[in-house]
Amino acid sequence: MLSKELVAASTTTLVLSILSEGENYGYALIQRVNELSAGQVHWSEGMLYPVLHWMEKEDLIESEWREAESGHRRKYYRLRQKGRKALNTEKEQWMAVHTTLKKLWKTQTLLT
């Protein structure tokens, strides 16, 4: 399971990435992360919403209340232009960390 610090550092990137697949609502975002990470990335459920609201204030995403099939209202989030740009920057940075670690760990496995 991911440490608290890594969860905090990666939440925005994960949200941006999932929303780049298409608009979605809070509960489904959590389900998607759970399913993709096989439970490794664990979000405290209610804590996601303040993050989403902060991202909305920063113009990274926008939201809209709509009626779901069940007849109840649901708040859907989708990416905005600024969010797409932010996602590209985030991608580069995470990939930089990823490739560095990968190279390091590859040499280490060869040595051992």
Binding site: Q31, E45, G46, M47, Y49, P50, H53, R74, K75
Partner: protein, 259 residues
């Protein structure tokens, strides 16, 4: 055998929202979104074979504890960005408290300090208040202040405290200054809260009423006006609580949950 008290999900969610709604950290929109999350979570848990009651229990535990949710939501919803009734409430409550304390300080310093020095405590208080408000505004929280100030996080407690303080103390400065209270720059500058009192002074200046009556009627009118504004903004804030009280007297409607 049929359960005599069947679990009502709508009712349970409503009560859960109400509990959170007591805190100013949550906007109505936040509460609706969290409720929508709970519903989705309950649905999923039920599909996995849990009873509705059990599913609600698990879902509300998973969504997080009240305290930690409150802390996180408060970060994105500082009170200054709150809904209008909340802002109104705090504006009036703040002016009211300031008015009461400044009257007390003025009265005491007029009574005990020589003329050139008597303005110093009131001016110091004004400056300190401005600094505190500036810090509060920029940090968006009471962190770093005395934990005692947290009583103001709760509108009902704060209002009761202010009313007791106001009614009890507002006549004291007049007794101390021997009912000579002429308007001065500090008291005139207070605007909204002072309006009824200042009108009283105008009536006096134009010769309609005596000074004593103007002062007394002004104070009474101020108290009444402030209490009316505070209570009505509080009721606006607590509309959900009001609805619950009505619902207790009549059986809860069985219609689908909306908003």
């Amino acid at each position: 055998m049929e359960n005599p008290n069947p679990f009502d999900l709508n009712e349970a969610i409503r009560r859960w929202q109400q509990d959170l709604g007591a805190s100013p950290a949550f906007k109505a929109d936040n509460l609706e979104e969290l409720a929508s999350h709970l519903r989705a979570s309950v649905q999923r848990l039920k599909a996995n074979g849990l009873t509705e009651a059990k599913a609600f229990q698990v879902a509300s535990r998973r969504i997080g504890e009240r305290g930690s949710l409150e802390r996180e939501f408060a970060k994105v919803n500082p009170a200054v960005n709150g809904p209008l009734p909340l802002v109104l409430f705090w504006t009036v409550a703040g002016l009211y408290l300031f008015e009461v304390v400044s009257q007390l300080v003025l009265g005491l310093s007029n009574a005990y300090l020589p003329a050139p020095l008597s303005r110093v405590p009131a001016m110091t208080m004004l400056v300190v208040t401005v600094i505190v408000l500036a810090v509060r505004w920029t940090t968006g929280s009471w962190r770093g202040f005395s934990p005692l100030l947290r009583i103001f996080d709760h509108p009902i407690r704060a209002t009761l405290g202010l009313i007791v303080l106001g009614v009890g103390l507002s006549f004291l400065p007049d007794i101390l200054t021997g009912l000579q209270g002429r308007p001065n720059s500090l008291t005139i500058g207070l605007g909204l809260v002072k309006f009824p009192k200042i009108s009283g002074y105008w009536l006096f200046l134009f010769g309609f009423i005596k000074l004593e009556i103007a002062t007394f009627a002004g104070y009474v009118a101020t108290q009444v006006a402030v209490i009316v504004v505070l209570v009505s903004s509080m009721l606006l804030l607590d509309r959900r609580g009001l609805r619950e009280n009505t619902a207790r007297r009549t059986p809860p409607p069985q219609t689908a949950y909306r908003n």
